[in-house]
């Protein structure tokens, strides 16, 4: 039934094959780092580009005849959009998590969670369409009476925030659900109300997981491309006004990569230099988030 004795060799071969597949995932990361680093170095090898100018220069116009390579407008655009998104997603995501974990009946939870997953499953290009054709003209302009441009950072930021609600809510809810029931019962035993248990026991006990949820959400917001490319515009600026168009790092990469960029051209190298910056920023954010997740798992498991 279990085959010939030669199987030991086959067993080893299978183990090696599976390990090779697992190692391939590491190759992906190495591939990303090598390709980004190589072209980024080539970008700086160009006499026109200096590292100092890249990091601090206030103007980004790599494709103009008199090119300027200061990445500050793109980083600033990314930060503003992310900030707006977090102002939206943090209260909504954590509120949703607290409701689902502490208040909702099993029936309500069973209905709300899959619906939130639907929200998470909407492609970002659809959110971009919604931000541009409905949210900016109808909500921001008509209903709120804001004097917004067709492309503006505010609409992009708010819709990015909506997009990451499910991410924040689901990680935060996991953390709250992992708080041992004994802690809640202890508080109830001392006469606490459900609100007091939520705010003073569950949320503090789940704090590292909630922080992880927020950090993960921020990482998604920083890396989001389609919503900002469609709705926030493609104008690199150092203006802080979110009612005007702005450009993020991701939107620049998308807008420049849209055409057939020749290998080795300045535009091609600029994509990699901006991509490198984006990758480093999200890598740092992700590692922080992974650390926090590990912390809350250790405490209660």
């Amino acid at each position: 039934m279990f085959g010939a004795p030669r199987r030991r060799l086959g067993e080893r071969a299978i183990a090696v094959g599976l390990a090779a597949a697992a190692a391939a995932s590491v190759l992906v990361t190495i591939g990303i780092i090598v390709s980004l680093t190589g072209e980024t170095l080539a970008f700086f090898a160009d006499r026109a580009v200096k590292v100092g100018q890249f990091l601090t220069g206030p103007e980004w116009s790599p494709l103009f005849s008199d090119p300027q390579f200061g990445i500050r407008p793109l980083v600033q655009g990314t930060l503003i959009i992310t900030l707006i998104a977090m102002v939206v997603a943090v209260p909504l995501g954590i509120g949703t998590a607290a409701y689902l974990s502490e208040y909702a009946s099993p029936r309500v939870r069973k209905a709300v969670k899959p619906t939130l997953e639907l929200l998470a499953g909407v492609p970002t290009v659809v959110f971009g369409y919604f931000a541009l054709t409905f949210f900016t003209p109808k909500i921001l302009n008509d209903i709120l009476g804001l004097d917004v441009a067709v492309f503006n950072g505010l609409a992009g930021g708010i819709i990015v925030g909506v997009m990451i609600i499910p991410t924040v809510a689901s990680v935060a809810e996991d953390a709250m659900a992992a708080v041992p029931q004994g802690l809640r019962e202890g508080a109830y035993g001392m006469g606490a109300s459900r609100r007091q248990v939520s705010v003073r026991v569950v949320i503090p006990a789940a704090l590292s997981g909630i922080v992880a949820a927020v950090v993960l959400g921020a990482s998604r917001a920083v890396g989001e491309t389609m919503i900002v490319l469609i709705a926030a515009g493609q104008v690199p600026t150092t203006s802080l006004n979110p009612l005007k168009p702005m450009e993020t790092m991701t939107a620049f990469i998308g807008a420049t990569g849209k055409g057939d960029v020749p290998t080795g051209s300045t535009g091609y190298k600029a994509i990699f230099a901006v991509g490198f910056t984006l990758f480093v920023i999200t890598l740092v954010i992700n590692l922080i988030s992974i650390r926090f997740v590990r912390k809350y798992r250790q405490v209660y498991e």
Binding site: V125, A192, R195, G257
Partner: protein
Amino acid sequence: MTTTSVDERPVPAEDVIGRPSAGGHLKDRAFKAGLIGLTSVGLIVLAVLLVTTFLDGAPSLSLEFLTSFPSAFPEKAGIESAITGTLWLMVIVGAVIIPLGVATALYLEEYADVNRWWNRVIEVNIQNLAAVPSIVYGILGLAYFVRGPLSLGRTVLAGGLTLSLVVLPVVIITTREAIRAVPPSIKEGALALGATRWQAIWRQILPASVPGIATGVILSVSRAIGETAPLILVGAATFVAFNPTGLDSPFTALPLQIFSWTSQPDEDFKALAAAAIIVLLVILAVLNGLAIWLRNRYQRKW
């Protein structure tokens, strides 16, 4: 916790055990109402998005729209090449992520010794890859698949490989969960009867976890076909008036067509974008429904 409720009115005795009262205290009620309000915002936005997009796009939906190629004239334009492109991408992504994802998940769950540093590196690496922005994968695809080592050009194969890498971490994570859901006693029973490690995996663990794995794969494929940003970089064109004929064929895809039409200032094209969104959302809904059905129908409770 030691200071809990000292400053509040005592809760009636019957409420101390079991559920404390939701009514009675105004603050408690307001808090609950606030949480419900926060929870409903996301759901309301989703509803508004679906309704407005449907209203924008429904008038343009027709059989002709589904069977025409892109055109400079909105009344003649359609999404046949985008639909076929998306189908090609689905097949390629499935063919890449099923073997690679399942093998990696099996290694991590059944073979890897977590005390070895390289296995921890693989774990953290996958967690990090899951959070790398999809456009960065697009850059990787541009550098390695379209140009560079593989030099596939702007083909449907290059696009499919790039999307496979985007969703690979998701497949690995969901497959690991499916494998972990099979109780260890099943494997131990097989091993006790003299099965080798691989025989126990191949004849017991894998068959038992197939529904979970299939669910994860379908959800990953549905995420892949909604991705736009990586495809922009690997150079899928938006004006492709023919269906892909092979792996080396140029292509377009639904999300790209949507992006392209959304970027047109002309309102007629925006309506086409909305109609294409409806088609994309229907495809995604079918895939997700299939995944949920599989999960409910075949998932075993041990």
